[in-house]
């Protein structure tokens, strides 16, 4: 703990953004109300999933930790890591967030909420993608699509750095964790090793008690 405080004193920018755990009081809703809130939240976000969907992660964090108190910051970081480690598209994180939103109501509602959340985040973008596929030849030379593609690329770049920074602040509460993150970041860019190796080795280091939080 002393090490963590010293670390935050050295990096005040980190300390300023580290959120306090569980100060947030969850809203009282009945089961169905909770489910509808989860579904409408993710339906509304679907079309903002620029550049592959990972751009939504800071928004997911805001919604599930700060706004609705579905999860603690630590739980959010855990679920993000699990979704990255599990096989399949990492955007399935939304299913885990939905599960967390209804966990207090028991496993049944947690699963219903998880499926509802995942379907909600995928439905609008899927429908748009079907239209895009069928109309692509008309759209491909439109100035709108050219401006959209060129213009939103740099914004995606900025968002991805904001996402990386956000997760780093959430995850790394001490120098060892930060060092692991930076090494993994470099290896992700410079090697062709599967990221599963990095997670397995870091998990081992954590299990041995070398990464506290």
């Amino acid at each position: 703990m002393i090490a963590a405080n010293g670390f935050q004193a050295l990096f005040p920018l980190f300390a300023a953004v580290v959120p306090a755990e569980s100060v947030c009081e969850p809203m009282r809703l009945n089961d169905l109300g909770n489910l509808l809130q989860v579904i409408s939240t993710f339906l509304g976000l679907s079309l903002f999933a620029l550049g592959g969907g990972n751009t939504l992660i800071t928004e997911y964090h805001h919604i599930s930790v700060d706004q609705y108190c579905w999860l603690t910051p630590t739980q959010f970081a855990d679920l993000y890591a699990l979704a990255e480690a599990a096989p399949g598209p990492s955007s399935m994180l939304v299913g885990l967030l939905g599960m967390g939103a209804a966990w207090r109501e028991g496993p049944f509602w947690a699963l219903v909420s998880a499926y509802g959340a995942e379907l909600a985040i995928l439905l609008p973008s899927t429908l748009l993608m079907v239209v895009a596929c069928l109309r692509w030849n008309k759209m491909r030379n439109s100035p709108w699509r050219i401006a959209f593609e060129r213009g939103l690329g740099p914004i995606t770049l900025g968002i991805l750095f904001a996402v990386g920074y956000k997760i780093l602040v959430l995850a790394d509460k001490n120098p060892v964790a930060l060092a692991i993150s930076l090494v993994v970041c470099v290896l992700m860019l410079r090697s062709r090793l599967s990221p599963l190796w990095f997670m397995a080795i870091a998990g081992l280091l954590g299990g041995l008690g070398m990464v506290s939080r």
Binding site: S46, A49, G51, G52, N54, A77, D78, Y80, A81, L82, P87, G88, P89, S91, G95, L96, W103, A110, L111, A114, T126, M129, V130, A132, C133, P143, I146, A147, G151, L152, G153, L157, G158, I159, V163, G164, K166, I167, L170, A171, A177, L178, I180, L182, C185, L187, M188, L189, S194, P195, L196, F198, M199, A202, L204, L205, G206, G207, V211, R213
Partner: protein, 205 residues
């Protein structure tokens, strides 16, 4: 929607390797195969290998064109690609079937992981292991931006827009939607094509 191929290829020599119009069942099984093959990672590569090289549903050019669309539109790239493949052959029902094939197994597994996590995450050993895994995952998250940085390195306006976006979100704590709605139109205006009539090459994939 009929499952009989309505358009048998008149010239088998020209594109004998392309088997057009997979059925809904084939689309589902194909995407299921992609999802299961990619358990160790590399979803995009497996998708290409199975759709183009093994099943010959598309030429490589068609596949790459689809990937361009999938990356352009909102939504996870690989899920959009599955939707694109399904929709190209069987419209909306093809898209939904391909999506289901892609997600069925990994999502079911992830739900089991989630149930285990919420049941047991307070165990000290699990919490310690997760502390390590989370640090690695944070490194992966950080690498996402660097990975596409090269594309924009020589474009000062792109770097300015990216920096403005980063500062708005990370420092000023703007939410994503206002950031996109404010900076997006400015960026689109700046990059509006000067000669809209000229056809565009398939630039950055």
């Amino acid at each position: 929607m009929t499952e009989i191929n309505p358009n048998p290829n008149p010239n088998p020599n020209l594109s004998a390797r392309i088997v057009p119009n997979p059925t809904l069942r084939q689309l589902f099984l194909g995407m299921l195969q992609v999802a299961i093959s990619a358990f160790g990672g590399g979803l995009s590569a497996w998708s290409q290998r199975i759709v183009v090289e093994q099943r010959h549903w598309m030429t490589n050019e068609q596949f790459l064109a689809g990937l361009t669309v999938a990356r352009l539109f909102p939504g996870p790239n690989q899920i959009n690609m599955a939707v694109y493949i399904g929709a190209s052959f069987r419209g909306l029902s093809g898209a939904l079937v391909a999506l289901a094939g892609m997600l069925l197994v990994p999502f079911t597994l992830l739900m089991m992981v989630g149930l285990l996590y919420f049941s047991f995450h307070e165990l000290p050993l699990l919490d310690r292991i997760l502390a390590g895994v989370v640090a690695a995952a944070a490194g992966m998250a950080l690498s996402m931006g660097f990975r596409i940085l090269d594309t924009y390195w020589r474009d000062p306006m792109a770097l300015l827009l990216a920096t403005a976006t980063f500062l708005a979100m990370a420092v000023a704590h703007w939410r994503l939607v206002p950031v996109v709605l404010v900076i997006g139109p400015l960026a689109m205006a700046w990059y509006w094509p000067r000669h809209p009539a000229s056809p565009t090459p398939e630039e950055h994939s």
